[in-house]
Amino acid sequence: MLWPLFFLVTAIHAELCHPDAENAFKVRLSIRTALGDKAYVWDTNEEYLFRAMVAFSMRKVPSREATEISHVLLCNVTQRVSFWFVVTDPSRNHTLPAVEVQSAIRMNRNRINNAFFLNDRTLEFLRIPSTLAPPMDPSVPIWIIVFGVIFCIVIVATALLVLSGIRHRRRNNKGLPGLDDAEDKCENTITVENGIPCDPLDTKGGHINDGFLTEDERLTPL
C-alpha cells in the first residue's frame, strides 16, 4: 500500500522538477577542470550535500526558516555533471519563487563554492549572476610608488651633476683670473696708423673657410 504513495510522490516530483520548469535553475559543475587529478566522483552523496547547502541558504531567508533538505528536488543529472533543481514549500505542492531562491544563493555563494572546492567559474548557476569579488585595490596604486622612487633618484642625480658643474666652473674661474687680465690688456690696444686702426685691415681680406681647406693649401707649394 506504500507503493501508490511512492508513485504519487515521484509523479509530483517529476511535475515540479523538470528542465525549464517554472522556478527551476540549471547547475553545471566542472570538477575535473577545477581539481584535475584530485577530482571526486559525483554521486548521490554529493547530491545530498548540494541539497543540504541549498536548504541551508534558503533557511537564511527571513520567511523560509522551515526549509528542509527534502524540499530541494534535483532532476536530470547528466554525465557533464549538470542538473536542475527546484525548492518547494513545506506543502510540496508548488515551488518557491525564483527571485527568492536567486537572492538566497547569491548571499551564500561563497559557502556553497567552498563546500565543493569549486569557484564561481567551475560551479555555475545558470541565470544566477554571482557578485564578483572586487579586485585587490591598494590605497596607493603601485605605479605611483615605483614612479616616486625612480623620479627621486633622477632628481637627486640631476642636482648632483648640476652642482658639480657649478663647483667645477667656480674652481676654474678662481684659478685663472690672473691670466685673463693680462690677455685683456693686450687685446684692448689697437694700433693706429695715419688715423686708421690697423685691425680692420687684417680681417677685411676674406674669411678662411676651413671646410674647403686641405692641409697642403695652407702653404704655397714651392
Partner: protein
C-alpha cells in the same frame, strides 16, 4: 714643410671641442641612435607582410646601394667639418644652410613625439611591477555582477591601452583634458633625458654603455625564452618561408628602401653631430659599414625573437579558440568533462552536425585556423602595447617578462633620443645662440624645457591622433628631400675631389668616383641625380675650386 712645423691645421684651435672618451663610445652612440623602436616593431612586420625571407633581398640591396653610402656621406662631412648640421651646410655653401636648418627642425619635432612614445613605454613599465598585471582583467561594473561593458567588447588589453592609458576621445577635434598619469610620466621622461644629455656627449657617453647594450641582453633572454615556448617554430617558419613572387610588387622595393632609410636615422643631423666630435683621422668608412651592418643584424635578430613569441601567442589563441568551441559542445550536449580532445574536435563536430544540426547551429562556434592567428600581424605601437603585452600575459612569470620588455623598449628609445637631442643641441652650441657665459647645462636644460612644454599636447586625450599626424607628416617626406639635397650638396657643391683622399695619406674619406657612383643612382628620389653625376664627374680635376667662397687675398 707642414709636417716639419708640426702644426696640423685641422686640429688647431679645435681643442675646446668635446671629444669621445674612446672609439667604442662613438660607435655605441651611433648604433644606439640607429637602432631604435622601429627595429623592433617595423622590420618584423615588413618581413612578414612581404614574403618572409624574400624581403631580405630588396632590404640588403637597399642597404648596400642606399643606406651605407648616405650614412658614409653624413659621417664624413661631420667628421671633416667638425660642426653640427647647420654649421656643416653653411660651410659647404651659405646657400645650403637651409638644409642644416631643416635637419635641425626635423630633429626637434621628432624629439617631441618620440619622447611621447617613451612616455607610454614608461607608463607600461611602471604598471608592470604588480601581479596580476593590470591589463589581464577587466574592471568590474557598478553593481559588481560583471565586467565593464566596453572592456568586454574590446578585450582587456585594448581596454587598458585605449581607456586606462590614453583615455582616447572619438576623434581629433575633441581634445579632451590632459591625462595626469601621462603628464607625470612626461615629466619623468624629460627629466631622464635631461639627466643624460646635460653635458652633451660627456654625459651621454657614460650612459650609452648601458642604454645601447641592455636591449641586446634582453633580446637574447627573450630569444632563449621564446624558442622554448610551444608554437615558436610555427611562428618562425611562417615568418621566414620565402614567397619569391611577392618581389614582383614594386611596393616591396619602395618599402625596403624607405625602411633602410629611416632605420639608419639618416638626414636628422644626429650622425653629423656625433661624427663632429671625432678626431679628424678617424676611419669613418669602416665605421659607416660597421654601424649599418650592426643595425641590420639587430633588425633581423629582433624579428626572430618577436616572431617566436608571436608564434607562441598564435598557438595559444588557436588552442583557446578550440577549447571555447569544445566547451560549448560539451555544455550543450552534456558530454562528460574533457571528453573531447582538441584533435578529435573536427570529427565530433561533423558527427553532431550530421545528427543534430539545429542544436549545433544555435551554438556560437567560431572557425579556428592557426594561419588566421599567425596572420594577425601588427606594427608600430600596436605591436608593443597590444599584441606583445597580451602574449606576455600567457607566459609564466608575466610581470618579470613585462618589466624586461618595456625596460628594453625604454632604453632603445632613450639611446635614439640622445641622437635626436644632439642633432638639436650641437648646432645651437656651434652657432653660439646663447652668450658664452651661460654654461652648457643651462642650454641643454632650456632645450629640454622647451621640448617638454611643447610635448604637453600629446598628453591630451586626443594626443595619440596628434602623434600619428606628426609621425606621418613631420619626418618622412622631409627627410627624403634633405637626403637628396645632402647628396647634391656634397657631390656637386662640395666637390668630389675634396671628398677623395690625396694619394698616400690616410684621411677621413677614401671615396673616389666609384663610391659616389654607388650613392648617386640608387637613392629613390634621385632619378636626376644620375644626370648630375654624369655631368660633373669628368670635371673633378678642376677640384671644384670655383665653387668655394673663400676670398683670395
Amino acid at each position: 714643410m707642414a709636417q716639419a712645423s708640426g702644426l696640423d691645421p685641422l686640429v688647431d684651435g679645435e681643442d675646446e671641442r668635446p671629444k669621445w672618451d674612446n672609439k667604442l663610445q662613438y660607435l655605441l652612440s651611433c648604433i644606439g641612435f640607429a637602432v631604435g623602436l622601429g627595429n623592433i616593431w617595423r622590420f618584423p612586420y615588413l618581413c612578414q607582410t612581404y614574403g618572409g625571407g624574400a624581403f631580405l633581398i630588396p632590404y640588403l640591396i637597399a642597404l648596400v646601394f642606399e643606406g651605407i653610402p648616405l650614412f658614409y656621406i653624413e659621417l664624413a662631412i661631420g667628421q671633416r667639418l667638425r660642426k653640427g648640421s647647420i654649421g656643416v651646410w653653411t660651410s659647404i655653401s651659405p646657400y645650403l644652410g637651409g638644409v642644416g636648418l631643416g635637419c635641425f627642425s626635423v630633429s626637434f619635432i621628432v624629439c617631441l613625439y618620440y619622447n611621447t612614445v617613451l612616455v607610454w613605454v614608461l607608463w607600461f613599465l611602471l604598471n608592470s611591477f604588480q601581479d596580476p598585471l593590470p591589463w589581464s582583467t577587466c574592471p568590474l561594473n557598478l553593481n559588481r555582477t560583471g565586467f565593464v561593458q566596453e572592456c568586454q567588447g574590446s578585450g582587456t588589453v585594448s581596454y587598458f591601452w585605449y581607456r586606462q592609458t590614453l583615455n582616447i576621445t572619438a576623434d581629433i577635434s575633441n581634445s579632451g583634458t590632459i591625462q595626469w598619469q601621462l603628464f607625470l610620466c612626461l615629466v619623468a621622461c624629460w627629466t631622464v633625458v635631461y639627466l643624460c644629455v646635460i653635458r652633451g656627449i660627456e654625459s651621454t657617453g657614460k650612459v650609452i654603455y648601458f642604454t645601447a647594450l641592455f636591449p641586446y641582453l634582453v633580446l637574447t633572454i627573450f630569444l632563449i625564452r621564446g624558442l622554448t615556448l610551444p608554437g615558436a617554430t610555427e611562428g618562425l617558419t611562417y615568418l621566414f618561408t620565402p614567397k619569391m613572387q611577392i618581389l614582383q610588387n614594386p611596393r616591396v622595393w619602395l618599402d625596403a628602401a624607405t625602411q633602410i632609410f629611416f632605420s639608419l636615422s639618416l638626414a636628422f643631423g644626429g650622425h653629423i653631430a656625433f661624427a663632429s666630435y671625432n678626431p679628424p683621422r678617424n676611419n669613418c668608412e669602416k665605421d659607416a659599414v660597421t654601424i649599418a651592418l650592426v643595425n641590420s643584424m639587430t633588425s633581423l635578430y629582433a624579428s626572430i625573437t618577436i616572431f617566436s613569441i608571436m608564434g607562441f601567442k598564435a598557438t595559444n589563441d588557436y588552442g583557446r579558440c578550440l577549447d571555447r568551441n569544445i566547451l560549448s559542445l560539451i555544455n550543450e550536449f552534456d558530454f562528460p568533462e574533457q571528453s573531447i580532445p582538441r584533435d578529435e574536435y573536427p570529427t565530433v563536430l561533423m558527427h553532431l552536425n550530421a545528427t543534430q544540426p539545429e542544436r549545433v547551429a544555435r551554438l556560437p562556434l567560431k572557425t579556428c585556423h592557426l594561419d588566421d592567428f599567425l596572420d594577425k600581424s601588427a606594427s608600430g605601437p600596436g605591436l608593443a602595447f597590444i599584441v606583445f603585452t597580451e602574449a606576455v600575459l600567457h607566459m609564466p612569470g608575466a610581470p618579470a617578462w613585462s618589466v624586461l620588455f618595456f625596460g628594453m623598449l625604454f632604453t632603445l628609445g632613450l639611446s635614439s633620443m640622445f641622437g635626436n637631442m644632439e642633432g638639436v643641441i650641437t648646432p645651437l652650441l656651434d652657432m653660439g645662440v646663447l652668450p658664452r657665459g651661460i654654461p652648457k647645462e643651462a642650454m641643454t636644460g632650456l632645450v629640454c624645457l622647451v621640448c617638454f612644454l611643447s610635448a604637453m599636447c600629446f598628453t591630451l586625450q586626443s594626443g595619440s591622433y596628434w602623434l600619428e599626424i606628426f609621425d606621418n607628416f613631420a619626418a618622412s617626406l622631409n627627410l627624403i628631400i634633405f637626403a637628396f639635397l645632402e647628396v647634391v650638396g656634397v657631390i656637386y657643391v662640395y666637390g668630389m675631389k675634396r671628398s677623395s683622399s690625396p694619394q698616400g695619406r690616410r684621411s677621413c674619406t677614401r671615396a673616389g668616383c666609384r663610391s659616389s657612383a654607388c650613392s648617386c643612382p640608387s637613392c629613390p628620389p634621385c632619378g636626376s641625380q644620375e644626370l648630375l653625376w654624369f655631368s660633373y664627374c669628368p670635371s673633378t680635376d678642376r677640384g671644384g675650386r670655383t665653387h668655394n667662397w673663400r676670398e683670395v687675398q
